[in-house]
Subunit: 334 residues, 2 copies
C-alpha cells in the first residue's frame, strides 16, 4: 500500500476512535515513520493496541494537556493520558523553542504513554541545529542487577546531533540486548529471536519470542546496563512525575489504567561553545570513517545512517503489510 | 600510611612541581578520594604520570583559566592545560552555581586533562540536591564498531542524583568492558585481567594486561557501546572545543603535547518538576530493593552504594601503598 494511503487510513481510524484531526495526523505520521525506518515493532503492529486502549478509556482521546512554564528554558507537561505521540510531539517542539531562545532547554512530561521511537523526536531537534538527549521509561522487561524479576523497561537512551550533512547522528539504543518491539513482531509472526537476548519465565535461555515476552529480557553489559536502565527510570519517571519502579503498565496486556509514562527532553544549540561546530563534527565523522575496517565491513556507519538509508529506500516503495495487520486495519476502519 | 599524611605528601609533591597550594590540595583530595573508594587506577598510581607531564611542560602548573559566561545557565571554560582535577573542580562548582540560580546548568570545558573519577565531581552536585550528567573523553582504547583500530576512549557516562539518604546514587560507567585504569594497575602489578574484556594488538583475546594495553579494549554491547562512546566523544570533545576523534593523547605514553581533554557537566535541581522528589526516589529505591533476589545476592545495590561503603570502611584504615608506588612517592618528594 502507498504511504499516503496508509497515513490517511490511520488518521481516519484515530479520528473514528475520537482523536482530533490534528492529533490523529501527528500519531499517523509517527507510525508511518516507524514503518519507513524499518522499526516495525513501533509501527502498524501497535495500531490495534492504541485503539483498544482508547476504547477501554486508558488513553484519553481528548486530553486537556497542561504546560507549566518553569523558566525561559524549562517546561513541565502534564499530558492528561494523551496518546504518547501527541505528548512527545508537543514536548520536543517546546524543548526546541526553549533551546532556540536561551541556548538550552529541558522539558519533562508526565501522564503520557508509549510514543514510538525516541529518534523520531530527536530528528526534529537536530533539523533545527540542536543537540538532544531524550529519555523515556517503559513497561517492565529487564531485571535489575541482582534481582530475579523484571522491573526496568527497555528504557532507551537517545542522543541526536547535527552532522553538517543531511543525515543526522541519531543514537537510539535500548538498554536491553534487543528491543521489546522486535520480540513482539517475532511473536506475532511466529518467528524465533536471537540466542542470548532473553530468558523464559523460569530463568532459562530461550529463542521462543512468546516465552521471552513472558520471561525476562537481558540488559546490555550486566550491572552497567542495569545502572543505565535505572538512570533512565529516574530521569523519565521519578523526576517528571511519571510512573517508575516497574509501575508503567504493559500497553498490550494491562488495561487496568493509563500508563503514565514519563519522558525527559534536553536540547541545546550545537554551536553553543564553538562556532565551527559543523566543521568539527564533519572532521570527527570523517576521521572515524577513515579507520581500517574489519573484514566484510564496507563503511563505518554512524548511528542513524542506516536508518536514514532505509527510510529513503522505503519512501520509494509501497509499504508491505503483513496479513494479520491488514485484518486489523480493516476491522478498525470499520 | 594515614590518609592525612598521604594527602599532605601529595600536596607537597604537587607544590614542588609548581602547582599553587590551592591547586595542589584540590588534586591531592581527588587522588585520595580515588584511593578511598577503591578506584586505584585513578589514585596514587597516576601521581608520577601527572608529575612527569608537568616536568615535560604538557600540563601547565600555573594555568590562566578563562571562564566565559554564555548565559545565566551556561559557561565555557578554557582550562589552559591545567591539571584535569583543577579544571573539573572549577567546572562542577560553576555548574552547581548555575543550577542553583536558574534550575538548570551546563558547563563545557576544553584544554583540560585527565581528572580522575567523574563520580567524584557528581557527588559534589548531588550533595547540593542536584541531579547531574557528566561526560568526558579519554585516549584511544576502544575500536568503533566495524573498525580494526582503537579510537574512542573508555569515555565514561556519569549520572548522579540524590536518594533522600546520605548515600548518593552515582552511576559512573565506562563504555568499555573494564576500566583502562584497572588494566594499568594489573599491568603494573603483573596480574592478569578477566577474559573477554580485551584483545591484543593482533586482534586475539588476551588476559595479559600489558598485551591488552597495546591492543584493543572491547566496548560493552558491541554497536550500542560503540554508539555511546561516540556520543560521549561528541558531547565532551566536538561540542566543547576539546580534542576528539582519537586525538586525546595517552597521558602515560605521549608527552608530545597537552591532552586537551574536554568535559561536559549538566546539572539541574532534583525537585524541578515534582516537589516531593525525595519521597519519590526513596520509593523507587525501596521498591527495587524489595524484588526477589538471585541466589547469593544479599541486597540489590544501587550504583554508588558499594563505593560509599568502601569509602567509609577505608576511611578508618591506613591506606596500603604498593612498593612500586612508595618508591614513586619517595622519588617525587625528593
Amino acid at each position: 500500500m502507498r504511504n499516503r494511503k496508509i497515513k490517511n487510513l490511520i488518521t481516519k481510524i484515530f479520528q473514528k476512535f475520537g482523536l482530533s484531526k490534528d492529533h490523529s495526523k501527528i500519531s499517523a505520521n509517527a507510525i508511518i515513520n516507524a514503518e519507513l525506518v524499518g522499526a516495525y515493532g513501533h509501527g502498524l503492529s501497535r495500531l490495534k493496541m492504541y485503539c483498544d486502549r482508547i476504547s477501554k478509556k486508558v488513553i484519553n482521546p481528548r486530553p486537556k494537556i497542561k504546560i507549566k512554564k518553569i523558566s525561559q528554558s524549562i517546561s513541565h507537561i502534564d499530558a492528561n493520558n494523551s496518546i504518547g505521540f501527541v505528548a512527545a510531539d508537543l514536548a520536543i517542539k517546546k524543548a526546541i523553542f526553549h533551546a532556540q531562545k536561551t541556548g538550552l532547554g529541558m522539558v519533562a512530561v508526565k501522564n503520557s504513554g508509549h510514543y514510538g521511537l525516541s529518534g523520531y523526536y530527536a530528528e526534529q531537534a537536530v533539523r533545527k541545529n540542536l543537540i538532544t538527549l531524550i529519555f523515556t521509561n517503559a513497561p517492565p522487561a529487564v531485571a535489575p542487577y541482582g534481582a530475579l524479576k523484571t522491573l526496568f523497561g527497555t528504557n532507551p537512551i537517545c542522543f541526536g546531533c547535527p552532522t553538517g550533512s543531511k543525515i543526522p547522528f541519531i543514537l537510539d539504543t535500548s538498554i536491553s540486548m534487543i528491543n521489546r518491539g522486535k520480540i513482539r513482531v517475532a511473536a506475532r509472526n511466529n518467528k524465533s529471536i536471537p540466542a542470548g537476548v532473553a530468558l523464559d519465565k523460569f530463568g532459562k535461555p530461550t529463542i521462543d519470542a512468546k516465552k521471552a515476552l513472558a520471561g525476562v529480557q537481558l540488559p546490555i553489559a550486566s550491572f552497567r546496563g542495569s545502572g543505565l536502565a535505572w538512570m533512565v527510570d529516574i530521569l523519565s519517571g521519578v523526576l517528571t512525575g511519571g510512573n517508575h519502579a516497574g509501575r508503567v503498565k504493559d500497553p498490550f496486556d494491562d488495561f487496568s489504567g493509563p500508563q503514565n509514562i514519563g519522558h525527559l527532553f534536553i536540547t541545546f544549540k550545537a554551536d553553543l561553545f564553538e562556532k565551527n561546530y559543523n566543521q568539527r563534527i564533519k572532521d570527527n565523522i570523517k576521521t572515524i570513517k577513515k579507520l581500517p575496517k574489519i573484514k566484510g565491513v564496507k563503511e563505518i556507519m554512524y548511528p542513524g545512517q542506516n536508518k536514514f538509508f532505509r527510510y529513503k529506500k522505503n519512501l520509494k516503495k509501497e509499504i508491505s503489510i503483513p496479513d494479520v495487520i491488514k485484518k486489523d486495519l480493516e476491522t478498525l476502519v470499520g
